[in-house]
Symmetry: C2
Subunit: 541 residues, 2 copies
């Protein structure tokens, strides 16, 4: 059997456009002699429409698009993911108006559909609905009612959807025992650093466990916080990797299952994957929202330098405007570094001093501002200028906040937290350095070497307010990524006073995180939709 | 049986403080001769700890607090809601690090616990876990494994938790058939306008359906977006209301079930309930977060006037500072109205002109700002001053945005959207008028009568940019609260061009809503955690 994996960049809600692109890929698959072309989970509508799928006509529009694929399936098989509507069976709260407002008239399912020669051969709805991190699938979907296999061109196929293959004892087990030779799993599995290898390891293990081949088709593309990295692959029943599609690349990838031989797995390069994920995340966020250009406040520091370099890779230098807004505390070096970077990557740099605006706002306050109050005026003036420029140029502002800052609240809300997207919000400061260094000559050495400073008061350094990042970042990783307690951290050898201070900053800055722009998720635990913590919260453990 | 309902204001995460307050209420109940005191759902930790409940030691701390109640239960029965930890049985994704990061080592349940004389008599874990609106209970909890009844002082009791009574065919049915004479339902049911009556109607119906009495104990208090209104009650097996606790009032309410006679239901006053909900929501947000005072930008318009009046009721006039920041476009009347209001409600009013700052920022932009660009400078300058004052006075900024503005994006992000809390974010403009008028003489007539204006350009009126609110608000109610489609709205008689324009504004402003402060939910469908819409979303239906 010749299989084409349509590793597809779906645009959420652009159902007709997604349909048309898949029709093109189907035509290409037919021309390349495929028996079957496989599109990812919810390829029809993109992942995830979230509450948008409750808008009237959404499921019907999806079903009409599936029907268009069906009508065009002469001589070729198609597996595609869509929302499907079914007669309601789920128990539902018919009394609370909030429940009714969130309710379709029908049960919706997250379904893989097998089509051939104008006919629907079978459907398999997702059984294990993920409800963790960014996933709220129980909010939207009812679980599939059963497990089947389907005959397709002399082969027995078991269809399942994403999480079904991740949960131990999922439907593949029964499908294999029902005679499936191939499991076709369609996924919308978002990226984080390390995920491609986790997926490969999991799927190879599932193949061996169940003595069944697996075709794994994953979405690519950026969707708000999520980046789908593609990296679809095919594994034989002995767990051998038979094919691996490139990461972060859209296209049709064709494999003849009968003649596929084991291939070595791609060498994972975390830094390269991280960079590709951020570039795709920026590009898709900007373009899918109808923009082409961005404004970045370039401070001379490493965070904004990295965001600028990533944006240039995503959008081209002609679509990136950097703005350097020196205050009275900005060092000569800051401007020089900003100019050096802009020069090396070939972008426009605007320079606008903010000291006068700072003076006027200082005088506006009835009592003369001191300390933090005075410091915070400056980033808010800068944000006002960024937003004005963005309005004038029909561009989006990119925010340069990193995960270490966001975790500790080391930022000025409505100031440096401003933007439509925060591309490096999920990178600790130490990752910011590593990734910035990967830009080689384009990233001025002086930016990489300078001690971090917010430059909001004379001779300020981040280390005056925060522990050095070499100490802070490991601690934050344990707190955020591993959810360790104060006692555990102290037992691990971290200084008790430091632990208490960092945990207190972390808790106290929840209100800021609630108002941040979306960041691009590149770790298992990012701030944003996948992490829900109350602002009002007295627990200190 | 003499029952005390502990209508309790739990503070999320303040487990020891919650425990101590419940111990006080237990002592009071014992002194007043109660057989049983009933505390609401998750009274131990407050509703909802969200991801906070995964912090190490959370469930253990809850169980220790339950144990303290148990130890103090000599001679009295207690029903209390807590998180309980159980050996893991739920299928779980052990392969994705994001799933593991969100996972406790155990299955957690949302449990009602019956205690007497130092012993746990029984437990009933919530079976129907709500996954709609603000609720993500499948993210946190496993459903209870079974349905039981318990003997308590000669009576048979069925315990269940909140949603269990809302879903048709819930556990009360089986509990009644197992001989329960009384159902004790513990709830954390948040307020919206009309909810108290919906609850009463539902519970009376459940009592009659199952021929069983129901003791319904609800939480009170504000928690970020949610306000719990209390209004606990008791219904006889014929559906008669036997007792109703006041709304928005903490306390122990004692009823002798054997001698309770039907009482008339309280007359619902929507406006009074709305006002009480907002006042409690403001007070608890401010105080539970460790503040006492707020700053409000008073524009002379009705939105900020209403927020100011509500804040004075919540916190006292000595804890409210209003700031009037006239720009070059502010009318004489605006200042006069701001002064009049401040005078009538007895609060401090600061006046700071912003024209100079506006000029400086205008000149800072490389191209002279016009139109929206120029307009947006002013609210961002104001926000910078509000935040500076808030920093100086250790106060929170309250945001005056209303639901009509937020729905249409008629606001300046990082400007008038700024604040720690947006108390009237769930009130359409027409509700703002109705509620403001309820303040009588304290609300100047001129504020109530003046046509709405943002005063960001000469002679501006909201109606220059938006349809009149009498047209806009009904349309928005259909779009947001009833989720109607373009076609349906046009079929209902709304002007087609208006529908298209309003829907386009609504969709295009999603990115702003993502960065708003929390608003207080007072309708079935509020913006915020209970409404999850992608920013990147091409669906226009």
């Amino acid at each position: 059997m010749r299989v084409g994996i349509g590793q597809f960049n779906a645009h959420v809600g652009a159902i007709e456009r997604n349909r048309d692109r898949m029709l093109e890929l189907m035509a290409e698959a037919r021309a390349r002699g495929c028996d079957l072309v496989v599109f990812p989970e919810l390829a029809i509508c993109g992942y995830s429409p979230l509450d948008g799928m409750w808008r009237p006509g959404y499921a019907e529009t999806c079903e009409a698009a599936v029907d268009a694929l069906r009508a065009a399936s002469d001589g070729i098989g198609v597996v595609v993911g869509s929302i499907t509507a079914h007669e309601r069976r789920e128990p539902i709260n018919r009394h609370d108006l909030s429940a009714l407002a969130d309710s379709a008239e029908v049960d919706l399912r997250n379904t893989a559909i097998l089509i051939e020669d104008g006919k629907i051969l079978g459907r398999a709805s997702k059984i294990h609905l993920p409800c963790y991190d960014v996933y709220d699938e129980s909010r939207y979907f009812s679980p599939g009612p059963g497990i089947e296999v389907f005959a397709f061109r002399g082969t027995t196929i078991g269809l399942n959807v994403c999480e079904d293959l991740w949960v131990d004892g999922g439907p593949a087990e029964l499908q294999a025992s029902l005679g499936a030779e191939w499991i076709v799993n369609i996924s919308a599995s978002p990226f984080y650093v390390g995920k491609p290898e986790i997926r490969r390891r999991l799927i190879r293990r599932r193949a061996k466990e169940n003595d069944v081949g697996i075709v794994y088709a994953n979405l690519i593309g950026g969707q708000d916080e999520a980046v789908f990295d593609g990296g679809s692959f095919i594994v034989g029943s002995d767990g051998d990797l038979l094919f691996e599609a490139p990461l972060f690349t859209e296209g049709l990838f064709v494999v003849d299952l009968a003649h596929a031989a084991p291939v070595p797995s791609d060498e994972d390069n975390d830094l390269e994957q991280l960079r590709s994920a951020l570039v795709l995340g920026i590009r898709d966020y900007v373009r899918k929202n109808g923009f082409t250009s961005v404004i970045i406040g370039l401070s001379g520091g490493i965070d904004s330098a990295l965001v600028t370099a990533l944006a240039v890779e995503a959008l081209g230098p002609e679509h990136v405007t950097a703005v350097y807004l020196p205050s009275r505390y900005s060092a000569e070096q800051s401007g020089a570094d900003a100019r050096r970077l802009a020069d090396r990557i070939g972008i426009e740099l605007l320079e606008i001093p903010v000291a006068e605006a700072h003076d006027v706002l200082r005088r506006a306050l009835p009592e003369a501002p001191e300390g933090l109050v005075d410091e915070n005026l400056q980033p808010r003036i800068r944000a006002t200028i960024w937003m004005g420029l963005a309005n004038q140029r029909d561009a989006l502002v990119l925010c340069a906040g990193n995960k270490s800052e966001i975790a500790t609240g080391y930022s000025t809300l409505y100031g440096d937290t401003t933007g439509a997207l925060a591309p490096i919000a999920d990178l600790y400061k130490s990752d910011v350095y590593r990734l910035a260094a990967s830009f080689g000559d384009r990233m001025p050495q002086s930016i990489l070497e300078r001690p971090p400073t917010a430059e909001l008061r004379p001779d300020q350094r981040d280390e005056d307010d925060l522990p050095p990042y070499e100490e802070l970042d490991p601690l934050l990783r344990y707190i955020i990524d591993e959810n360790r307690s104060r006692q555990e951290l102290i037992a691990m050898g971290f200084d008790a006073a430091l632990v208490v201070r960092v945990l207190a900053r972390y808790r106290a800055s929840e209100y800021k995180r609630r108002q941040l722009p979306p960041g691009i998720k590149v770790t298992p635990k990012a701030f944003g939709l996948g992490r829900r913590v109350p602002i009002t919260n007295a627990y200190t453990g």
